[in-house]
Symmetry: none
Subunit: 413 residues, 2 copies
């Protein structure tokens, strides 16, 4: 089945400009990879009449219609009610979803209110898409030869539901198609324009695979995308292009797809069974927070100290008073002591430290963006001096990324 798709987001918050329609972006990307053409996005408010009109239009021009939003417990939420009414279908209680909602309330020891029951009702004879991260189940069905799919609005519920249940359903209904396969190559330590210059001829000649660069927080990524009816052939096209690219800029490459630098570090340390401890000043806990947000962190992360004041640097990290007086907290010397001391105090294989000026004000006569990263192992301590641009938030993120990058290079040696 060839499918021209339309994505309909239901929610007045979108029409008031409170949020952007990132759901449509996410679904469009996923549908492109399935080989489905997306021809329209529509946003309509929580209003039955206008939603009905929108559905009539979609029905006349699209083969696959995906809704996001309007499945919640409140009176505002009218998506499934409106569709059921228009298609003369009833809503029936889905026992499994009801049980999941009840379990949720039992677990969180909160009182379930009557309107939560509303969420467990689905359009009859539809395929139910379980919600593993919330209460409202999704659903999908065929009607008049078209596929209709209803997904919840919150991205953290919608995304895993679509990936885990929506895509398999669509693959099954749509049958074989040209597959679009893509791979993201991640680079650090090279600017976007420099990277583009290095592979300019590849970008100019691109057709299949295509190459799309993107820059963020000091990182550059290249998305390479291949189209082929045979998945294996598509993968081979990607392998070949990857080889071409890495022959030029391989020294800056650090990982694939969604792998972040902190995750890459965590996996490397896991593999070599090394533990780590951190002493964070300007980053205020960001480094460890990113590491510990990854499941499996406890094998690697022992702990750390956030030393936001000089007092805490002395008391908790035993940084020498003379060091702070003579060189200041934003200094090579202080970074060195912080990294070495946190390593011995906590008893880890590696100690890493971050001290610097996140802004908005300069500190100790050092300009905003001046940062020192210390990395101590049993054998040696390296300190890296950085001069970063950007907002407070961006400087903190780049600092952590640079720390991970230098640590990776040290582990490579």
């Amino acid at each position: 089945m060839k499918a021209n798709a339309e994505i309909i987001a239901v929610g007045s918050e979108l029409l008031l400009g409170q949020i952007a329609n990132t759901n449509a972006q996410f679904l469009s990307k996923q549908l492109a990879e399935l080989g489905v053409n997306v021809y329209y996005h529509t946003v309509v408010g929580d209003n039955t009449t206008r939603l009905q009109k929108t559905i009539e239009i979609a029905r006349s021009r699209s083969d696959l219609i995906i809704f996001t939003g309007g499945l919640g417990p409140t009176k505002d939420d009218v998506t499934k009610e409106t569709i059921a009414h228009m298609f003369n279908r009833t809503l029936s209680l889905h026992q499994q979803s009801m049980k999941q909602i009840e379990d949720y309330f039992q677990k969180t020891k909160r009182k379930m209110s009557e309107n939560n029951r509303k969420q467990a009702f689905v359009i009859s004879d539809s395929y139910v898409l379980p919600n593993d991260h919330g209460m409202a189940p999704g659903m999908a069905f065929q009607h008049e030869g078209k596929i209709w799919m209803l997904l919840p609005g919150p991205p953290k519920e919608m995304k895993p539901m679509f990936l885990n249940y929506g895509i398999p359903y669509l693959k099954d209904q749509l049958g074989a198609n040209d597959t679009i396969t893509s791979r993201v190559l991640r680079f650090f330590g090279i600017g976007e324009s420099q990277l583009e210059t290095e592979i300019e001829d590849l970008i100019d000649k691109q057709s299949n695979p295509t190459i799309a660069p993107l820059a963020k927080d000091g990182e550059v990524t290249l998305r390479i995308t291949a189209k082929h009816h045979d998945q294996k052939q598509a993968e081979q096209l990607l392998d070949q292009m990857e080889d071409y690219i890495l022959a030029r800029v391989g020294q800056y490459f650090y990982g694939y797809d969604e792998t972040s630098l902190p995750e890459q570090i965590l996996r490397r340390l896991q593999a070599i069974q090394f533990t780590i401890a951190s002493a964070e000043s300007l980053t205020g806990g960001l480094f460890l927070q990113l590491l510990t947000n990854i499941s499996g962190a406890s094998q690697v992360v022992k702990g750390g100290v956030v030393s936001y004041t000089n007092e805490v640097k002395q008391q908790m990290l035993h940084v020498k008073k003379e060091t702070l007086q003579k060189y200041g907290a934003v200094s090579r010397q202080c970074a060195k002591e912080m990294a070495e001391n946190v390593r011995t105090l906590i008893g880890s294989d590696i100690g890493i430290s971050f001290t610097g000026v996140a802004g908005p004000e300069p500190l100790e006569n050092q300009s905003v963006g001046t940062v020192f990263v210390g990395i101590a192992t049993k054998e040696k301590t390296n300190v890296y001096e950085l001069h970063l641009a950007g907002s407070r938030d961006s400087i903190r993120k780049r600092t952590v990324n640079y720390g991970c990058y230098h640590l990776m290079k040290m582990l490579d040696c």
Copy 2:
């Protein structure tokens, strides 16, 4: 003139999911402030046939139609050509825009190509919106009693053009209008459906102001929006509705608009000149990271310890070995010692601790989502037991939010 608006974004890159439609979000916010109802967003590709169909639909249902995108120099860019064709209008060279484009090329010492001339053509008899940040001018005109406005796609060109030229044009054409004023009330410690049950009658009766609930990471917000030709009267309507709402659920209210719980805490501690230190286990530094991401944190945050292992809890936080053996790390007793000890070790007014099971695996026979938050002051220590649902990431975020919430309640007493 009363206007129901529709925003049409033209661009295949949106339908491929390469970018999100942030232009529609921006314009929606601006239009809401002008008192214009936005009823639809549409995204359509760079395709003349589908664009024509989209325009027909908009023509039949909206009074003000704003386009973004498709004004560029390439063959793909068809917005003004398609509209001119449909409305039997011609395109004519706009001398001032032509001169601006020529100046641009002269200034950047680049060679102008013939297709750049295309950008200087505008729909005849339209009001030209100058582009101060790029080449393609915008334009606006009335046709069949409706207002049509064409804006460029790149946000850095579109936004200033709309603010500086689009809004004055619309104000002039639409005449005096009601202003729309809104306010977001933020709640914590109450579920969306419970909150809605408490104020059900207010929601049922809503007209002016309207009430719109939204839930995220354990928080619920209510956006109340009032419409009035007099800004002061609109504010009074909001004040009155806020009073009604807070009389019911005031105990869960913590702040307005974009203020997060960590920011609210930071501002409160600043105001009373209190310092804070944290001992974080499952949150891995998230609490301090959020606090220190706010400028001004150094007056309040002294530092903290991330104790991801029992060893670090003993060494760095002096939690008693017997406590860990008898009750475990995920216990009321451990949370109490962590909070009290980090407070005295770092010498702050408040010590706050987080210990629990973020998942995915249970820990010490405690189920995923079991969390203890300790808050120690000079006078007393409180420990709060939580049972949270969701992913690892969500449990960590909710834990921090609950910590902030309970700290706020303690400071209130």
